[in-house]
């Protein structure tokens, strides 16, 4: 029995693969009904299914395939031409076949579906009325009208045996025999000579045996195609195991590489180098075996588009570019559904009806373009339609109606923000709920699914002209670049895709920069509040949040999860590394904080942080509305500022001071020991030139609270650093030594009080705090009267 089961399993596997191809072929064929090779391939598929089912005893399946085959053979022989009706009927037949295959797979039986009307349609379309009663056709075995002819009967019908002629032709062409002698031999054969042509020719002396041998050789060679590369089927499980082993090998290699750094033996080092290279190549090779062209997913779309367009009364032409773009198998699987959804959306919502299109001056047939290409280690997939685009007013209206955004915010949203509303859960703009879309589960799920595999979705809306959805996804999920951090003595890996930047906040800045707002710890990064999560606390290595009392520098890893930025405080930032992702054991699988594990070069295990999970656990990626509100607040802030960036400094009297960022050429840090004296002034060597320094604390002398003059503090001179703002004007530079650079803010310069204290222009409010505006030119003028004169002269 097991034998039969195996056969049925093979049959199902083959048939399903072939049917997928068939769907595609039928659509192609509809566009070009004369493509004979495609017709032949379609015919072959149905033919094979029918032939096999006969043996397996699936009578219904056989009868459906049989009428389908008949119709296809009429098409193939040119007795019929493909039209929309026939295509639909054939697609319906494919569906029926598929339906039965599913049943066979599940129950081992073909089910008791009624396909009489389908059989009737297929028979009618064939124009063959011999089967008057479709019911009997449905149940009976395919009609064997006459007993099959015997060999003799067939032979009798034969004219000149086909295979022999080329041999004769070859002999004539090579001059080994004359046309007349060959014809003679052929007629002998025709009259019952059972010998082969070559034998006759040799016997009659028409050609030399060697010449006949040569001709036969030529004949065989021309028929046997050169050995092309063959492919074999490999079990996916085996590939996964191989990938796993390669992962282990990469880890072992990493360990050896680490070990080799402390070795002197050149032989060992060479071998290590070789091992390294081979491992890399092997890894690439095995990764490639898991790659599949995106065309595998796309192949279903022509059918989807066709059915949907027909159902909506639209005309849509689908075009694909970059079908061969390879992606990891697991990624292919996870983008299948999102992509299908986007394609359906484009047809259902994007492309207009032919009438509307004509009215808009477009061709009645809509155009859907799928594009895929590699770029920067990622795969880009674009789905563009030339439809009406996204109606932003309607989007706004819908969002308001569904209470997704408060009215006062709606008015302030810009185009981009409006477009992005379509990604909100519960959003749908379909006027009527169709059976294909508009059920309110959609774009948010698409977005979440794509983000889950480390991808992004972006919408480009061209009102009246169409919409493009751009998806970026990583090539593989098996080996990823990651940042390694340490917290509480344990190492963790953070996937690079989530990483935005690293911020190190030291001493004083940590105390003043990290604030506690209603229990939420935040850091003000370039004017924006960045919620902070302490990894120690999240992992419950520490009961209390000891941030405020924490000493020493704070390392913040700025991460992105679900469009929201947040900072993760870690003890140490180690390095970036390519890590091999391993699934977590079932004990840890339920914890949303971790996405997996990896083994480090030293053989120790590090857990991979799930950035989104972490953010959700810590409530930094909170409700949707917060997100919108946050964006809006940031926007309002940036609108208010409208333009000027300011560099914030701490002045000599601990007050906040600012200068326009446009006056800052560079920010530098010099060792105090590198400061030299020349011509009675402090200078440093900077980029091969001499940079004169002006100490702000001496320039603003009257405000010196204490002696902060360089070099006279208690700090050891060798280690002390000075922070310098470099200002350049017409090729000349001067360095302003400041106490500390605080931040960069974005604010309109509105000086409110024109107290003209030396060195300042007045004060203004920046980030809600009174800040004095430095008179950079005045300070330079005072300290170095020649600076401007010389630049003017230069």
């Amino acid at each position: 029995m097991g034998d039969i089961d195996d056969i049925i399993r093979d049959f199902l596997l083959e048939s399903n693969e072939n049917l997928d191809q068939l769907d595609r072929d039928l659509i192609t064929l509809e566009k070009d009904p004369t493509a004979r090779d495609i017709l032949a391939s379609i015919f072959r598929t149905i033919h094979t299914i029918k032939g096999t089912t006969g043996f397996l005893g699936f009578k219904r399946l056989e009868s459906v395939a049989h009428v389908g085959e008949n119709l296809l053979s009429s098409l193939r022989d040119g007795r019929l031409t493909l039209n929309a009706e026939i295509t639909s009927a054939l697609l319906a037949m494919v569906d029926a076949v598929r339906q039965m295959l599913v049943k066979i797979e599940a129950t081992g039986k073909e089910g008791d579906g009624d396909y009489t009307s389908l059989i009737e349609t297929l028979t009618r379309l064939q124009g063959d009325h011999k089967v008057a009663d479709p019911k009997s056709a449905a149940l009976a075995t395919p009609p064997a009208v006459m007993p099959p002819p015997t060999i003799e009967e067939i032979r009798k019908d034969l004219e000149i045996p086909e295979s022999v002629q080329p041999l004769g032709e070859i002999l004539v062409q090579t001059g080994a025999a004359t046309r007349e002698r060959v014809d003679e031999a052929l007629s002998l054969q025709k009259h019952g000579d059972k010998r082969r042509l070559g034998e006759i020719l040799v016997a009659t002396g028409a050609a030399l045996p060697a010449a006949v041998q040569d001709a036969l050789q030529v004949q065989t060679e021309s028929r046997t195609p050169a050995l092309s590369e063959s492919s074999i089927r490999v079990d996916v499980g085996l590939l996964d195991r191989l990938m796993n082993l390669v992962g282990e090998l990469v880890l072992a290699r990493n360990q050896i590489l680490q070990f080799s750094t402390v070795q002197q033996d050149s032989g060992f080092l060479n071998t290590t180098q070789r091992l390294n290279l081979i491992t890399n190549e092997l890894q690439e090779g095995v990764m490639k075996t898991r790659m599949q062209p995106i065309g595998n997913v796309w192949s279903k779309f022509p059918r989807v588009v066709r059915d949907l367009a027909t159902a909506c009364g639209k005309q849509v032409r689908i075009e694909m570019e970059g079908k061969e773009t390879d992606l990891d198998k697991t990624i292919i699987e996870s983008i299948k559904d999102p992509l299908t959804h986007l394609v359906r959306n484009a047809v259902d919502h994007g492309i207009e009806t032919p009438q509307k299109r004509r009215a808009a001056g477009k061709s009645p047939e809509g155009h859907l373009l799928l594009r895929a290409y590699h770029e920067g280690g990622q795969v880009n997939i674009e789905i563009s339609d030339d439809g009406a685009g996204i109606n932003l007013d309607r989007v706004k209206h819908q969002a308001l109606e569904r209470g997704l955004i408060p009215p006062d915010q709606a008015a302030r949203l810009n185009e981009r923000e409006l477009v992005n509303l379509i990604f909100l859960p519960g959003f749908s703009t379909a006027d009527k709920v169709t059976n294909v879309s508009g059920r309110g589960v959609g774009m948010d799920v698409v977005k979440t699914n794509i983000e889950k595999i480390g991808g992004t979705v972006d919408v480009q809306n061209r009102p009246g002209q169409g919409t493009t959805l751009k998806i970026k996804i990583p090539l593989t999920l098996a080996i990823i670049p990651a940042l390694i951090v340490t917290s509480h003595g344990d190492r963790f890996a953070i996937p690079q895709v989530n990483l935005l930047e690293l911020v190190r906040v030291e001493g004083e800045q940590a105390r003043s920069g990290i604030e506690n707002i209603h229990g939420a710890v935040v850091y003000r990064l370039r004017g924006k509040l960045l919620p902070l999560i302490n990894l120690r606390r999240e992992l419950q290595a520490e009961k209390h949040d000891e941030l405020s009392s924490q000493e020493g520098p704070v390392n913040i890893v700025v991460l992105q999860a679900d469009d929201r930025h947040f900072g993760l405080i870690v003890d140490e930032i180690n390095d970036t590394e390519e890590i091999v992702v391993k699934p977590l054991g079932k004990q840890l699988k339920g914890i949303s904080t971790f996405a997996g594990a990896t083994i480090m070069g030293d053989g120790q295990v590090a857990l991979i942080l799930d950035v989104l999970g972490l953010a959700q656990r810590a409530n930094v990626v909170s409700e949707l509305r917060d997100r919108l509100a946050g964006d809006l607040a940031a926007k309002v802030e940036s609108q208010r500022s409208d333009g000027d960036s300011l560099l914030l400094l701490r002045g000599p009297d601990d007050g906040r001071m600012a200068m326009p960022l446009s006056m800052v050429a560079r920010l530098e840090e010099f060792a105090l020991s590198s400061v030299e004296h020349a011509d009675g002034r402090q200078v440093v060597q900077y980029r091969g030139q001499i940079l004169p320094l002006i100490d702000l604390s001496s320039a603003l002398t009257e405000r010196r609270l204490q002696n902060r003059v360089s070099g006279s503090t208690a700090e050891s001179v060798e280690n002390a650093k000075i922070q310098v703002v470099v200002h350049s004007e017409q090729g000349r530079s001067v360095g302003l030594v400041v106490d500390r650079i605080l931040d960069i803010a974005h604010e309109a310069i509105k000086i409110q009080r024109h107290t003209v204290r030396p060195g300042t222009l007045g004060s203004m409010v920046v980030q809600g705090r009174v800040t004095e505006m430095l008179d950079v030119k005045g300070i330079i003028q005072t300290a170095d009267p020649d600076f401007f004169r010389e630049t003017a002269a230069a």
Binding site: D3, E14, T48, G51, S73, P142, S163
Partner: protein, 123 residues
Amino acid sequence: MRALIIDDSKAMRSILGRMLRGLQFEIVEAANGREALEQLQSGKNIDIALVDWNMPEMNGFEFVRAVRAEHAYDRVLLMMVTTETEMENVARALAAGANEYVMKPFTPEVIMEKLRIFGMAGS
């Protein structure tokens, strides 16, 4: 006795293989004409080949022509496995040197009957 089953469908090969094993044949399989030709060229002693018509790379007809162009394989019996829609093809194949054909679906008895003509079926 050894039979070479040539068909691009694995399920079909299994079905035929099962049937012929029941008739005390030893089975060799090939997924297309080219593979089948390689099997022959590798020196395998084949008594009968069951040949499908539609196959990628090298179809049944091309296979028959290639085999019949080589005298070394003269004693290999070529049996086309076909359906009633392919009768024209059978004629071509027979002209090219195929010896017999069977029409799908068939029972072991049909095969036995055909083999008996060639003195191949045992008791």
